[in-house]
Subunit: 508 residues, 2 copies
Amino acid sequence: MSRDQQGRRRERRVVGGLKQLPWRHYRNVYKPIEVLRPEQLEKIHEASLKILEEIGIEFLDAEALSILKAAGAKIESGSQRVRFDRGLVLESIAKVPREVMLHARNPEHNLTFGGNHVNFGSVASAPNVSDMDRGRRPGNFQDYCELLKLVQTYNIVQFTGGYPVEPADRPPATRHLDAHLAAITLTDKLWHPYSLGKHRISDAVEMICIARGIGKEQLKREPSLFSIVNSNSPLRLDGPMLQGLMEMARHGQPVVLTPFTLSGAMAPVTIAGALAQQNAEALAGITMIQLVAPGVPCMYGGFTSNVDMKSGAPAFGTPEYARAAMAGGQLARRYGFPYRSSNACAANAVDAQAAYESEMSIWGAVMGGVNMMLHGAGWMEGGLVASFEKFILDVEMLQMMGEFLQPLEVTDDTLGLEAMTDVGPGGHFFGTAHTMARYETAFYSPILSDWRNYESWRLAGAQTAEQRANAIWKQALAEFQPPPLDPAITEALEAFVAKRKEEGGVPT
Amino acid sequence: MSRDQQGRRRERRVVGGLKQLPWRHYRNVYKPIEVLRPEQLEKIHEASLKILEEIGIEFLDAEALSILKAAGAKIESGSQRVRFDRGLVLESIAKVPREVMLHARNPEHNLTFGGNHVNFGSVASAPNVSDMDRGRRPGNFQDYCELLKLVQTYNIVQFTGGYPVEPADRPPATRHLDAHLAAITLTDKLWHPYSLGKHRISDAVEMICIARGIGKEQLKREPSLFSIVNSNSPLRLDGPMLQGLMEMARHGQPVVLTPFTLSGAMAPVTIAGALAQQNAEALAGITMIQLVAPGVPCMYGGFTSNVDMKSGAPAFGTPEYARAAMAGGQLARRYGFPYRSSNACAANAVDAQAAYESEMSIWGAVMGGVNMMLHGAGWMEGGLVASFEKFILDVEMLQMMGEFLQPLEVTDDTLGLEAMTDVGPGGHFFGTAHTMARYETAFYSPILSDWRNYESWRLAGAQTAEQRANAIWKQALAEFQPPPLDPAITEALEAFVAKRKEEGGVPT
């Protein structure tokens, strides 16, 4: 597992003047934290099967209902409520592969989900965008592109989470075409289309095939796309998400089934109840996927948090959230599903609250055994804003967690007894050979933290972390270079987009 | 372990208008994170024994040297360097009790250290103090007292860490008398004297005996005090700390042996090397304590962090720090010692950096199996400042961690299937009986986090967490009421202080 520390650090890549960690694949070699005892885990499993058997889930799509009916699910005549035998559920979910590798257009950026792999992605789906210079404003295509550039710049942001901000100034019927073209040309990392009907997915499939120069059969064997389905909690999946989910499954691309179970609002006011409901909804969706395409990869997402019971406002990064993220990981591992969680916070400012809520989420996710951390960089206000400064703050916090996951090296060489002998009592290690051989690469080098003493910091302008983050993202954008792409591919993509726009895009 | 959620929450105590968690004893029922594999742990253990056998530790005190010599340690004539047979070390440290309960003058505030007990303390020993209204200034007695009032106010701050700020405007020879009198009268929680020579300790012993109305024999059986000894890394213990340590041991009061091993400066540039040195120094000090008073309680402290190799500035809450905190816990548990760690950060402002560095420290400590978290509330700038706003920020972060440690309850009642049946697909849980019965106490209620939506937050003044913290500590001080104390005890304490002042205090 562990590599030579110096060797590892020598890889550190510098993009322009920006320091950062090199591109790496992360694994969590520590044991996940288990907040549920084994019998508690089984009790939640049993409760969710009972929900599926007795309460049922609504599927608002005729095609989905007919597939479920054919598979033996119980649907009363004229009803959209589906009740599942546990046998059908357990048999279906057993077909989910334990790991899936997703193929980016740059193969260096392929990522594996499952096992102890940990992958960090950007914020997704924020309706608004914010930074210190331009303020808070509705999502738009220019900001969408700028956030993609930050995704591409920072190695720790290993994939794009959907649209980092909604490019709401582009027409709904063709917005996805512009968005995907930008995701392919401004980054060479994984990105994902939205399961909003069948056609956005089929367009994304065409575009990633062009981008990678492959056909649909190869794409099935080497999936590239993923999509998130947030069931309409409680206990419902709507038509567009089911249409998208089925289209993804038919193309062999994984869906991440993530119920958004806000305890106290769309789920019971208890975390146990919210987890049981989360699990029932996820198992229902995953069963649906496996009925459409047995053995297709898919993932289990946990997004249980709580609301403020005084105001109804959703809260994130709470103690309840952290325990639910860890319990979600236990549930995912119980079934062998790759696990998705998030870096969420409810803060309105890029301040201490934003940091501590995000840290609670990050620790909850990582020590919960997360494989896919969505909303890793830039998420604010419970998902209502993508913030440029928060993006940089998150890059720092994710890099620190990435470093935390690097195993300690305990060898005769690292123990350094010779250096201690030379230095002796009361000395210091600054100039020793042991130090000199390692000092440049010994420790994590932050991008945002300021470790100067107070006086130096004050004389340099007494900037907060938010102010420093502001300068950092501006420098990153100023230095941005798009990743190489064969001009013939760009041309083919542009032609595809032009043709689909002529056709009017997707039905809205 | 787990108590009825409603029952537990009903305890929530409100001090004046301040909301906060009730006084509780915390236990970590989750498994600590192990960053060292078993063979790595053994390798560090072996290396530290080799350091003690071959390199040795300097003891700058004649009495300590003679005790060590009598016990069979090797000391070359005219030298203060002590080399230890592993037999002597292992036999001595085996005598340390696995747990120790410390007795506060209010028995409700007694705390047990060891096992899976988790106790949070305040900042200790900062030379400066800071808040938004009065700026950054040298430590003084008024601020010392105000910080004690915050310690007493907040239940999550379970003990006072030494002097939260140095009351540097009081004369050195008698400062400890004023400081201890204030600690006893403004709080009824545990506090600690400094191991700076024998006399400060013996004065503290007299004062806690008066405060509790007990004699020294009872104090031995029911210890009240603890003291921190930071060895002079590398590999040295100085005279005043040894004199203090021996006096503590003779009175049966525990010392927390905490080497301050800054990797790259006072310890090797590798975390493994710094841990081996930390362990060697701690074992040497604990061996010394056990030779003075076999079986006396003591604790193992880990404070390994790293410096910024470009500037030499110490860094805290780094990925290296978090892993070292967890490895320190593994070492402590290997020997059965209660474990002390810290909530440290290097930030100059109460901003996102302060929060994320502290969160890394808190998670490192708690999931490292900490029993005593020193510097839990108020520590800034690598310990150079006690900040009033940071104190409140830390109270929030510690409360969140305290809540995280509460086990989830998974029962038929909390699973809430009946509520789900009633609500059904597409509904919501706001008005259900299941929700109404629990909504007031269902979730952690923050003291600092602002969960309002952006527009409400902006209209209310767009305050950052730091600004809100400023209002909170001022309210806490305005509402402060000292804990009850028998006036005869206060009088006796004041008489003792007056007498000792007349005598000139301690030699300086």
